[in-house]
Symmetry: C2
Subunit: 758 residues, 2 copies
């Protein structure tokens, strides 16, 4: 109780969450480090024979991937993949089943450690977001006394959003970038109120994970992950901005093609039915082959030598960001060592950089189709920095003396291009601008604010004109129920109104609808989870909406077994007391009044069709009486089962008993008649037990698409009714809205293409 | 047309806006530089006599402030002050009059240049936001063919939000920080869709302003404004985080007290009626005295020597961020020069730093009460960096050898504390976290991410627990119609429902209300800008809401002069044709049918009270006929003015003319009778000309305060009706919501104080 009481305070909750996350992150990092060390140890120290070395180099990753695929498949298939597309969907208000469970957490943590430990060209930012979200979700469940608060949707959404930031924060040790990136990537509308939560979580998480490194690994202090040492006195010449913008544009094209290739590769594999069947039967074949292919290509004695296959991702990035021109003649020993890693006797650095970029470009796409946990950000960072370095070295090679400005010459810094490329490519793949901040933080360098931002903006503009972001692409592939952002703010968003895309044929019920008709409506619209209630089919004034289960319960109450038995019991009592004598008429008068349900029913019915009702009731009662007589006579017949074909229900309901411990029920015919009569009665929703949601979201016909989108995405609405001065005239659900947005987006390459902007 | 067509594209619009803003910013900077140079020239080179030097030092600022006060007062009083509180309000959806005009732009630009040129301890970030917003607003007006788009509220809000970011971007040359700061400071809910606009505008603006500097001032390149040169290899020891957090807490306390002192000083001056009257009469006295006081205190030969009075703000900040310990014995010449500025023969650096901090603390509060354009961010930055440097030097003095970690000693860097203090204090004053990013960008240094964020978060937590932000405080002082953020996410936000704070006594009109009653409702509720329409006073089903002006027009149409004349004319025609002969009865039958307005009226009336109406009409007509006879007889009397006391209206309406070119009107009595009759008719809103807003925002009684707040702040709603299954039961306006939030915030120090968090 003490703990759960405390967890209800946001900052304690976040601190707990951040520390758990930091510990998990640290443990995972240690695990990955260990696996990597083992891999390299096997490769380096076991044998000198190239073939044996190749076998050890390849076997471990393949085995690890096979193990991961297997246990992910059996433990929690939800743990495969990135997690960001799914978190986008969850934060949009659509809960995904089994997505935030403890099982998934275990599977994701172990799986990610194995996958990254096996040296696959995959990242970890998506899984970290997923893991942090699960931790926050499970933790919020522990806050039992305040569960009501956490059950509040907007509160839990706020917490999940903060957890996403936190996950990224511990992943990159880049608190500010993580908060911004998580906002950009996961949400559409952001409550500034929630801002501090992300920062707080990130700072605690990032500090904790770095402090753990300081304490347990002897790291010196909390500092940048891939530190760069670039003099800030003269970072770049103003005219170099053109080159940076160009790098950005190229990265944008590359990024868009990356997303396109990825989606079409996945769709291609999926579309081939034969291949699909084969792979489904031999579940381990595909990941096994891929792991073999990928690890073969990185074999340091083979093609691995062209892409720095024998150094870790950290070292690769640090070297790509190293601040000297690789083509220079006079290099220090340390510098020469770096260049040695990026050139071979067959190739110079340009060849290696091209191979490095292409390898990561294609193999991270292919690798990401394995059903294992993986992220796309680190690969994107590597592709981008490789490409950027390539451009930078090229520019430095063309202008060996640098740019001239006035009297002073400023040399080209290829490292700046590597940083710019990393930010621009990852920005174009994820459609986010805040990668710039992430890059500043992980390099510990903010001197290139303007070049990086220029390149990121250009890359974003190019990429978003051509392709959706990687995460949206995955959402499309997985067909998750996600509402896309309206990135293209053209006039059609303002000029398209609800009336243009709403569903005119609304299914509705009305005050005074008969139970029978309600039953029909429910039967014919099985997919509707709630149905609008209007005052009458003529006026169509919207009164509210009723949940399907409420309506089902209403019918159940009216013609269900309980009610039927009760009526049978009452009528039998009356019948008996009538039959016995006319001695106690007073009691007969009292009975209906004592029953609140019946009096209610009567009262409510009186309002609408009093005379009809009393007629029908007396008529029915007489029917019942005759039927009851008949059925009590045929009681024995029933016992021996002659009437079984008429009543295919369970035996207790078949029996008709006398008062006392015996169950009283109607005969089959009586039941049918009674049900028909009951169902023909009108429902008075005002006085019924059914809970009515009196304010379903309502729109007017002239509401613009933009506003509908805002409402749906901000409020997590799934459907809204369209009214015209109170009259229900249509309905819009996520489906219609999605279609309308799709229409607009498809149009965008045709008439309105002129109006597009970055 | 060509230009306005192009401006409709977002990115061209933003580029234009950014370039205009950069030019304005550059011109202002040049102006300020010029004025400052003149001031220093007068002080340094004109005379050696201390008294004469004092006079010149003091006279120029006083004169400049007096000139500014005068022309601000006459040209555009709206230009005084910061501008951020007002922009917050405008972005919230409440338009402020004359706030975004060309006049205000001119006044603000000139005023700010004068004020900063005069050396007052005031900043420029607020005015820059205001100026950029005006530029964007005026520019969007130029995009005429797409005016309909720009008139769309959410679009123009998006553009204004981007302009705010742009203003800050050109002000600080810190694009990322500016975008984030503008989001935090001006909006409550942020559309991620709009994110790129801010970045784009900022990057263009920041680049343009720096490029202008490169081209026109011979600056080397686009670089940080207050560059720092701190080795990033070992920025700080992990245990120093405690000191940084402590600095943050102290800055939080200082910041909260800063806001408190400012508000109470303003309220004190305002509360004293005598003083107020006196100052209003002698409008120039107060600013004159203040300018004299402030400039006297900075006189370099007097107390100015204790606060670096003879160096500019840029130099002050750069020196405060300088990376060496001022108390060290062995200083280079350059370093000794800096220390010489911060110590005198009477005081050491501690005394000077304290005096510097206190001076800016109090005098920027006092200075900001002058009715001139000013910002609060730069002063806050100076106070914070002064205080931070003080703490840093103190820590360095206590631990002269630095912190020991394992074998290596890491020296204390007072510059880090100065940076931390600057971020923490300005963060606590503005309640924003993104100042951290602003500080990174203006120092060109991101090595201190963790310390700065820790301090900023602690400072924010402390400050927001004690006081509102500076901008919210000003909003309170100015009583702007702004909805505060819900910073304290305690459970009461979820448990408080609309029904707890709505207004139960709703004024409404109904379908079939008589014109007379409508008139009464309008007369008794003059403040209501729109009135809800229900189907009937019994059922109270909400049908929509109608604007006041629509209703006024409706009454005008019913009993206005035009309608009256028309009726008089018609009746006269009928009268005449009746009188003439009974020869053409057919024509008499046809007339009413030919008039669509009358037939409409009849038709609608038929539905409700047909018999009554025709009775009354025939009765009225006979009255009219008699009256008309009388009045046409008394035509001459009217001409000579005998009836003037009965009809105090203008002469044309007094006259009763025959058909043709003469104006036909009713007599006073007839008019009264006719009006009474007209007003007693019911209104059929379905068929009337009044435009009904069929979907005013509707809430349910159980809607939580949080959701109401989100709706109001996201959608810019001013009032919403509360319904219960379609029935109108209450209304919530900004006023009620504000009160409810205030109640919660006042409670927060009492029972629920346990649940607070940073």
């Amino acid at each position: 109780h003490h703990i759960s009481d405390r967890l209800s305070k946001d900052w304690i909750f976040l601190t707990t969450c951040a520390i758990i996350m930091a510990v998990i992150s640290f443990a995972m990092d240690e695990g990955i480090r260990l696996f990597t060390a083992v891999r390299f140890w096997f490769y380096n120290d076991i044998t000198g024979d190239p073939f044996a070395r190749y076998l050890t180099w390849v076997t471990i990753p393949v085995l690890m991937i096979l193990i991961t695929t297997t246990f992910i498949h059996y433990l929690a298939p939800q743990a495969a993949g990135s997690g960001i597309p799914e978190m986008k969907t969850i934060l949009r208000g659509v809960p995904l089943k089994n997505y935030l469970t403890f099982k998934t957490l275990i599977a994701k943590v172990l799986g990610l450690t194995f996958v990254l430990g096996s040296g696959m060209p995959l990242g970890k930012e998506g899984p970290y977001v997923h893991i942090a979200s699960i931790v926050a979700h499970l933790l919020s469940k522990m806050a039992t006394p305040f569960r009501s608060i956490y059950q509040n949707e907007s509160r839990s959404t706020e917490m999940l959003a903060a957890a996403c930031a936190l996950g990224l924060g511990t992943c990159f040790a880049a608190p500010i970038g993580a908060v911004l990136f998580s906002i950009e990537v996961t949400t559409t509308y952001f409550a500034v109120r929630n801002y501090w939560r992300g920062f707080f979580g990130c700072v605690v998480g990032a500090s904790a994970v770095r402090l753990l490194a300081v304490w347990f690994q002897g790291a010196d202090t909390v500092t940048a992950v891939y530190p760069t040492y670039i003099s800030t006195e003269f970072p770049f010449d103003s005219r170099e901005l053109v080159f940076f913008a160009l790098t950005g544009a190229l990265c944008g094209l590359l990024g868009a093609s990356f997303v396109w290739v990825h989606r079409h590769y996945v769709l291609f594999i999926r579309s081939s039915k034969k291949l699909n069947k084969f792979l489904q039967k031999n579940r381990l074949l595909y990941p096994g082959i891929l792991a073999l292919l990928i690890s073969s290509l990185t074999f340091p004695l083979g093609t691995g030598q062209f892409l720095g296959g024998d150094i870790s991702t950290e070292d690769q990035l640090t070297q790509l960001f190293s601040n000297f021109t690789w083509t220079e003649k006079n290099l220090s020993e340390k510098q020469a060592n770096i260049v040695a890693k990026w050139s071979t006797k067959y190739t110079n650095i340009f060849g290696n950089l091209i191979y490095f970029t292409l390898y990561h470009y294609f193999l991270s796409i292919i690798g990401s189709t394995m059903a294992v946990p993986h992220g796309m950000f680190i690969p994107a960072l590597k592709i981008g920095s490789g490409f950027g370095r390539l451009v930078g070295e090229f520019v430095a090679w063309i202008f060996p003396l640098g740019m001239r400005y006035g009297d002073c010459m400023s040399p080209i810094m290829p490292a700046a291009y590597a940083i710019v490329g990393a930010a621009a490519f990852s920005g174009s793949v994820t459609h986010s601008i805040s990668v710039a901040v992430v890059v500043f933080e992980i390099t510990g360098q903010i001197a290139f604010v303007v070049p990086v931002l220029v390149a990121v903006l250009v890359a974003n503009a190019v990429a978003s004109l051509l392709q959706p972001s990687m995460y949206e692409s995955v959402i499309m592939i997985k067909k998750l129920p996600y509402l896309p952002d309206l990135l293209y703010t053209n006039s059609s968003l303002y000029n398209k109104h609800v009336s243009d895309f709403m569903l005119h044929d609304v299914k509705y019920i009305w005050q005074g609808i008969t139970y029978q008709k309600l039953k029909d409506v429910l039967r014919m619209n099985k997919k509707l989870r709630s149905i609008p209630l209007v005052d009458s089919p003529e006026k169509m004034i919207l009164l509210g909406s009723v949940q399907r289960q409420e309506l089902v319960k209403l019918i159940e109450d009216q013609v269900g077994r309980e009610k039927r038995m009760e009526m049978a019991q009452r009528w039998l009592t009356e019948e008996l007391s009538d039959q016995a004598t006319e001695r106690r008429p007073s009691r007969f008068e009292v009975v209906p009044a004592q029953d609140p349900q019946k009096s209610n029913l009567k009262q409510s019915n009186q309002q609408s069709n009093d005379s009809l009702n009393s007629n029908s009731e007396s008529r029915l009662r007489s029917t019942f009486q005759s039927v009851f007589k008949k059925s009590s006579e045929s009681d024995l017949d029933l016992e021996i089962g002659t009437n079984e074909h008429l009543q295919p229900v369970t035996s207790p309901s078949k029996r008709v008993h006398l008062i006392g411990d015996r169950v009283v029920d109607m005969s089959p015919e009586g039941k049918k008649l009674w049900e028909l009569d009951q169902l023909s009665k009108p429902i008075d929703f005002y006085n019924s037990a059914a809970r009515i949601d009196p304010s379903p979201f309502q729109l007017v016909e002239r509401t613009s698409l933009l506003r509908v989108h805002s409402l749906f995405s901000m409020m997590g609405v799934n459907h809204a009714y369209v009214t015209q001065i109170g009259r229900l005239v249509g309905v819009v659900s996520l489906k219609e809205l999605l279609k309308a947005i799709e229409d607009i987006n498809n149009q965008r390459f045709e008439p309105s293409v002129r109006e597009q902007q970055p």
